[in-house]
């Protein structure tokens, strides 16, 4: 066979969900009607920390139109707690509430108006407890702890001789940086319909990990996996907020009480009390030689996981994994702690622990470069981890040439030739840089099934949830490429646990790499079977046959794949099935090491600071994306740009504000997210395709890298412009103005 060029891989094909999403036909969970469905409203705790002394739902239950009220008393004949690592979250509050907004009771009624009226009739009495707000109070341990203690998780690692290195180095720097609590604002707030039935449980839900929800529901209610169906329609944005299990156990338990399907659609206010990103504090001590060589880093970090663990264990670990940065370090010591506080539970958010870790790491790198009188870019390059080197001992070595990637961004940004240019009085301009590597891919476990039909079309079955990232299109591209059929002939069925084979999750930038590999293998399985049929047909060896565009040819003769399949079954019908299994022992040998891949993040920012008002304007931002191989280049850019824009939010204005355990800004008026006018005049993704990922065609994931570097690059640019270092996000005008004022710069 001659070398074959790609037909659809590498092309910005028309997304398979384009017609649904551009016509209003796309159905999200909240658009579904299930016969007999009741509507749920929640009774939530007004107090952040309290013992529940009495719940009386009798008046609510007596209201005409109310089917059921769920309280802790109804959690019988089932497991009562759930959670991805620690099962510490009750299906509904039991004896105690740990954050303001925690559900204490849930009403199912004929319609929402009656459910809302019934909520007012549920009587709950509390005994208020002292509130644990923020990292300092959690560490202080005064008052009643949130759980048995305020410590959720502890993590650490070390190599080299850190103490000796600090003794022997020329200079030691120690700096602390803070990252705020932020909210994903997936525009579709969490929505779930559950139907608890005698022989099965059915759920339609806005979940990123349908199979993990299936397993959790089966465990909670004592069912077999085959008795639990989880269907995930289109998801209106995830970014981690819909990872693992959220409202599904509560809605299922309420459906059991109500004896009918129940729908719960959260409001933005309620979604902000469902999950958020971990606030964090990181302190780094760095030992350097006068020539700019970093010899040791000691990182200590705390993340605030709120009232329950949710994904706090992994976030604590990733924060620690990512904090030392992408540098060649002979001596490292890391300790990180996850802490409980009385606030919304914190879970996954796009690059868990990543923006927090790189904010700390890369802010300090600039502090050091400035103190040594070195260009911050060259200081980074000097210390960068090299290709093939283990950036974390015992883990997968760095696959690519980071220095090349850094220089590409610097060149395209114009780092060396930049000048501030003329500015109005009181306005200062500056540039900043940041880089990081994040361990991504979660667990290398996915499966896929492909059916090749008797008319030459095919259906691909994947567990990945389509939440905007475009996985359905990418999987169709991979399947079409490997089956040697046109992209338009492939349909994708996704995220219904009774129809599609198992997948671990949709997150951690993993789907193109891991589900992509499963789909690739399933499609190759089909091709192999087709070639075997063609070999029989032509009386030739399979490797002598050319396959393209749904046809097999040999010595000038051609036969359609479809005809081969029909002939195999001796009639008009029939089909082939292909399967793909992805496990750590995948025959490619590329999935044995952790992480699945290192996701590279680089950012260069130019800002303008109005010293009179403290306003920071991001004028230009350059990011990098290395998808290994861009299967759909437009979607790769879209992932990077979207991630960077979310980061502009947490860099400049997004922050969940708590006072005494009360969330002060639980709506989009007071919690501002980026809008069109926040788009920098230059907002560029530098796309490089290093071809070294473990996925199909050397692909690796890209969904998270873009969110990591915006904050440190921007704060470094503010420093470059003003000489003032700001160590707490977001860079609000007030915070910047105060910092400038204190430094005598305002």
């Amino acid at each position: 066979m001659t070398t074959r060029g790609f037909k659809t891989v590498g092309t910005a094909v028309r997304r398979v969900d384009a017609d649904d999403k551009l016509s209003g036909r796309a159905q999200f969970t909240g658009d579904l009607e299930v016969a007999g469905m009741a509507f749920c409203k929640l009774v939530t705790s007004p107090l952040p920390h309290a013992r529940i002394t009495r719940v009386d739902a009798s008046r609510a239950r007596a209201l005409p139109g109310v089917y059921a009220v769920l309280t802790a008393a109804e959690l019988v004949n089932m497991e009562t707690h759930y959670g991805s690592d620690k099962k510490d979250r009750p299906v509904i509050a039991i004896d105690k509430v740990r954050f303001q907004g925690e559900p204490v009771a849930a009403v199912a009624a004929v319609d929402l108006a009656i459910a809302e009226a019934a909520v007012e009739l549920v009587d709950v009495e509390y005994e208020e407890l002292p509130t644990v707000t923020g990292i300092d109070e959690a560490l202080d341990g005064a008052g009643e702890p949130v759980h048995d203690s305020n410590f959720c998780h502890e993590y650490g690692y070390e190599w080299g001789d850190v103490d000796a290195a600090f003794r022997e180095c020329d200079r030691v720097f120690e700096d602390t940086f803070e990252f705020p609590m932020v909210y994903h604002y997936a525009m579709e707030p969490h929505t779930c319909i559950a139907s608890y039935e005698p022989d099965r449980i059915r759920l339609w839900t806005s979940a990123q990990h349908p199979f993990l929800v299936q397993a959790e529901i089966a465990r909670l209610f004592g069912r077999q996996l085959d008795q639990v169906q989880v269907v995930v329609p289109y998801v209106g944005g995830g970014y981690g907020s819909k990872s693992y299990t959220k409202i599904e156990p509560l809605v299922t338990a309420l459906s059991r009480e109500a004896g009918r399907p129940v729908r719960l659609a959260l409001s933005v206010d309620e979604a902000m009390r469902t999950v958020r990103r971990h606030a964090a504090r990181g302190t780094i001590r760095t030992g350097v030689m006068n020539d700019g060589t970093i010899v040791a880093r000691e990182c200590t970090g705390y993340v605030d996981t709120g009232g329950y663990t949710d994904n706090g264990v992994r976030v604590t670990e990733r924060f620690g994994d990512r904090m030392p940065g992408p540098y060649s370090l002979a001596n490292v010591r890391v300790k990180t702690y996850g802490l409980f506080t009385n606030s919304t539970p914190a879970g996954s958010y796009r690059s868990i622990g990543g923006p927090q870790a790189i904010w700390v790491c890369e802010s300090q790198i600039d502090v050091i470069a400035h103190a040594l009188g070195m260009d911050p870019f060259e200081f980074r390059v000097k210390n960068l981890v090299r290709e093939g080197e283990e950036v974390r001992r015992g883990r997968r070595p760095i696959e690519g040439d980071l220095e090349y990637a850094l220089r590409r961004v610097a060149d395209e940004f114009g780092w060396d030739s930049w000048t501030p240019g003329p500015t109005p009085p009181g306005v200062k301009r500056g540039i900043g840089f940041a880089c990081g590597v994040t361990n991504s891919g979660a667990s290398p476990t996915s499966t896929s099934l492909v059916r090749f039909h008797a008319d030459g079309s095919a259906t691909v079955y994947i567990g990945s949830a389509e939440m905007g990232q475009g996985s359905r299109s990418v999987m169709a591209q991979i399947a079409a490429e490997e089956m040697r059929i046109p992209y338009e002939k492939v349909r994708v069925v996704a995220s219904d646990t009774t129809a599609v084979p198992w997948d671990r999750s949709t997150g951690s930038s993993r789907s193109t790499t891991l589900m992509g590999l499963a789909v690739h293998d399933a499609a190759v399985d089909i091709r192999t079977q087709v070639l075997d049929l063609a070999a029989e047909h032509f009386e030739a060896f399979p490797e002598e046959i050319e396959a393209e565009d749904g046809r097999a040819s040999f010595k000038g003769e051609t036969v359609a794949f479809a005809a081969l399949v029909r002939n195999m079954f001796g009639g008009s019908g029939g089909e082939l099935m292909g399967r793909g299994y992805v496990t750590p022992k995948h025959p490619s040998g590329k999935l044995r090491q952790d992480p699945v891949f290192w996701e590279v993040s680089i950012g260069a920012a130019e800002v303008e600071v109005d010293t009179a008002t403290g306003e920071v304007r991001l004028l230009r931002y350059y990011s990098i994306s290395d998808p290994g191989k861009a299967i759909n280049p437009k979607q790769v850019e879209g992932q990077d740009e979207g991630a960077a824009m979310q980061a502009i939010g947490h860099t400049l204005f997004e922050e969940m504000l708590y006072e005494d355990g009360q969330l002060l800004n639980p709506n989009l008026v007071d919690y501002r997210v980026p809008v069109f006018t926040d788009l920098p005049h230059e907002f560029e993704t530098v796309l490089i395709e290093s071809g070294n990922g473990p996925g199909p065609y050397g692909a690796k994931g890209v969904g998270e890298g873009g969110i990591v570097c915006v904050a440190p690059a921007t704060a470094n640019a503010v420093f470059n412009a003003t000489g003032v270092r700001i160590s707490t996000l977001p860079l609000t005008p007030e915070r910047v103005w105060r910092a400038l004022h204190e430094a005598g710069q305002a």
Partner: protein, 160 residues
């Protein structure tokens, strides 16, 4: 139990078709569209007129259907994404969204398309700054906005 409410009869034009409905005074337009007429392309998100996901066109002008009382559409013309997309004239904007990857999860997209349509109806060749300024009432959390600006530009007279 909620007391029985007086209902109001509302006759209006919905996606070019005359329709009638009876609504309670506090019913927002989005509920009328989604629940009475099954037009679920109009999305509910922030509920406070910030995000634009529930945008529909009322006599050609964008409004947030989460905060417009349903009775206010009496005698007027409402266009939802379903009506917009069914019309051939929508094709350049829709194709521009496809070509520029101007949508991801699709939750903001119905409102985004209608806001862009009303802009292009009023100003067939808007500058980038005009696009950003006009569209700032529509939030997208996925794309980062750049590709939507590019799509609207491509669909405008300046981009063709």
């Amino acid at each position: 139990m909620a007391e029985a409410q007086d209902t109001l009869a509302v006759a209006f034009e919905l996606n070019g078709v005359p329709v009638e409905a009876s609504v309670e005074p506090q019913t927002p337009l989005i509920d009328l569209l989604r629940e009475r007429f099954g037009l679920t392309g109009t999305k509910r998100s922030c509920d406070v007129q910030v995000c634009g996901a529930c945008t529909v066109l009322l006599d050609g002008a964008p409004v947030s259907s989460c905060t417009v009382p349903a009775f206010e559409v009496r005698g007027r013309a409402v266009l939802t994404v379903e009506g917009f997309a069914a019309d051939e004239s929508a094709s350049p904007l829709i194709e521009a969204f496809v070509n520029n990857a101007a949508f991801q999860c699709g939750f903001c997209t119905p409102g985004m398309l209608l806001a862009a349509k009303s802009l292009l109806d009023a100003d067939p060749a808007p500058s980038e700054d005009v696009i950003k300024d006009y569209m700032r009432g529509n939030v997208c959390r996925c794309t980062g906005y750049k590709k939507i600006v590019e799509a609207v530009h491509e669909a405008s007279e300046a981009g063709r």
